[in-house]
Amino acid sequence: MTDRLTQLQDAVDQLAQQFVAAVHFVHKRHDYQTLGPNDKVREVKPEEMQQTIDPLPAEDFQAGLSELSRDLITKEQQIEYLISMLPGLQNSEEDQEKSIKELEEDLKAAEAQRQEALKEKDEILAELDRVIQSIRRP
């Protein structure tokens, strides 16, 4: 689990990779089309066709297209969500410094209290020890 900024940067990079993947998909997996009624798809030998494109059936191609575009939108939404989850958006630098200073003071006070409590604990422990010993003596 990395921090949110790194997550966000990773997500942006993933979006860029998805761009490449989408272009690649469209580039490689389409089938030949005719542009006018008089056009005819040129017959190519199967082994030659293998090298340029690898057409999918029309429905699968459409399904792939819509899946890729859905993924793109989802990733973009993820990025926006991550942006709105960035820590401390509402705090300015002065706010941060102030709250850090306050926390520092609180920490000092709490530490002092803790030491006091520990001292008290030691005292009560010694007291208890003494009592137990005095019980055993007779």
């Binding site: 921090d3 949110r4 900024l5 966000l8 940067q9 942006v12 979006l15 860029a16 761009f19 989408a22 272009v23 469209v26 793109l72 939108i73 973009e76 990025i79 926006e80 942006i83 709105s84 960035l86 820590p87 401390g88 958006l89 509402q90 705090n91 300015s92 630098e93 941060q96 410094e97 709250s99 850090i100 926390l103 520092e104 609180d106 920490l107 709490a110 530490e111 209290q113 803790r114 409590a117 520990l118 008290e120 604990k121 009560i124 422990l125 007291e127 208890l128 009592v131 019980i135």
Partner: protein
């Protein structure tokens, strides 16, 4: 001196140490210590302005004058700051938010809204990234030769997003520092209360114990006294008996 390569050093698995290690003789080290002492320098500033030639390797080299150096093909600077996009050679997209456009950066209102705008700016950049991709696809389908301009647009957008995120890093660092401190504070407070609870429990036990021992002692002391009294009475009785017998026998 440093250029004299030992031919064996080319064969070894590990590279030889730099030849100036030979300068660190006890005599030389003592000499430079003395020089430092006479110059009155503290440990933190160990560079002496004028040292003899043979001692030159015994002190660290000076800072690079322009504050830049290269190690392993990477550039480093003394000042640890984020280079601006212009310095890297990328196009910096101007901020589009109206509040940042119309007011000068010195006004305090901008400083307050700065990070909120940051998020908005980022969202805009992401949106235009998608839009530019759509345009790229359109260009590709109609005139693939013109696509390179769009690709460089997308490149600029991506660089700008990353740059904006990196600018945000110090802010996040402060934020997580505050978070850590808050966590630590909570831990300390929890610990203190649990210790206090323990102390209180122990104190109650002690008090209970104290009253217990007291009662026992009273209970055990009372019969002892009674017995002593009985013994005393018995002895007295015996004593009077013996006295009577003595009187009778006499």
């Amino acid at each position: 001196m440093a250029d004299e390569e030992d031919p064996q050093s080319l064969v070894g698995t590990f590279p030889e140490p730099p030849s100036f290690y030979k300068d660190f003789t006890p005599a030389n080290v003592a000499r430079i210590e003395e020089l430092r002492k006479t110059a009155g320098l503290k440990d933190l500033t160990p560079r002496l302005p004028n040292v003899p030639e043979y001692l030159i390797n015994l002190q660290p080299p000076a800072e690079p004058e322009d504050g830049k150096w290269r190690v392993f093909g990477d550039h480093y600077t003394l000042e640890d700051k984020l280079p601006t996009l212009e310095e890297v050679g990328a196009v910096s997209l101007p901020p589009t938010h109206p509040s940042r456009l119309q007011s000068s950066p010195s006004s305090s209102q901008v400083a307050q809204n700065n990070h909120y705008d940051h998020a908005l700016e980022l969202k805009r950049l992401t949106k235009s990234l998608l839009l530019n991709f759509l345009e790229l696809l359109t260009t590709l389908s109609q005139n693939p030769g013109h696509a390179s301009a769009k690709i460089s647009d997308i490149n600029t957008l991506l660089i700008n997003i990353h740059h904006a995120l990196n600018e945000y890093r110090p802010h996040q660092a402060r934020e997580s520092a505050a978070e850590l401190m808050q966590d630590h504070l909570d831990t300390i407070r929890r610990e203190t209360t649990s210790v206090r609870e323990g102390v209180d429990r122990a104190r109650r036990v002690l008090e209970g114990l104290g009253s217990l021992t007291f009662a026992e002692r009273e209970a055990s002391q009372a019969p002892v006294d009674e017995e002593a009294e009985k013994n005393r009475l018995k002895q007295q009785e015996e004593l009077t008996l013996w006295n009577c017998a003595d009187a009778l026998l006499a």
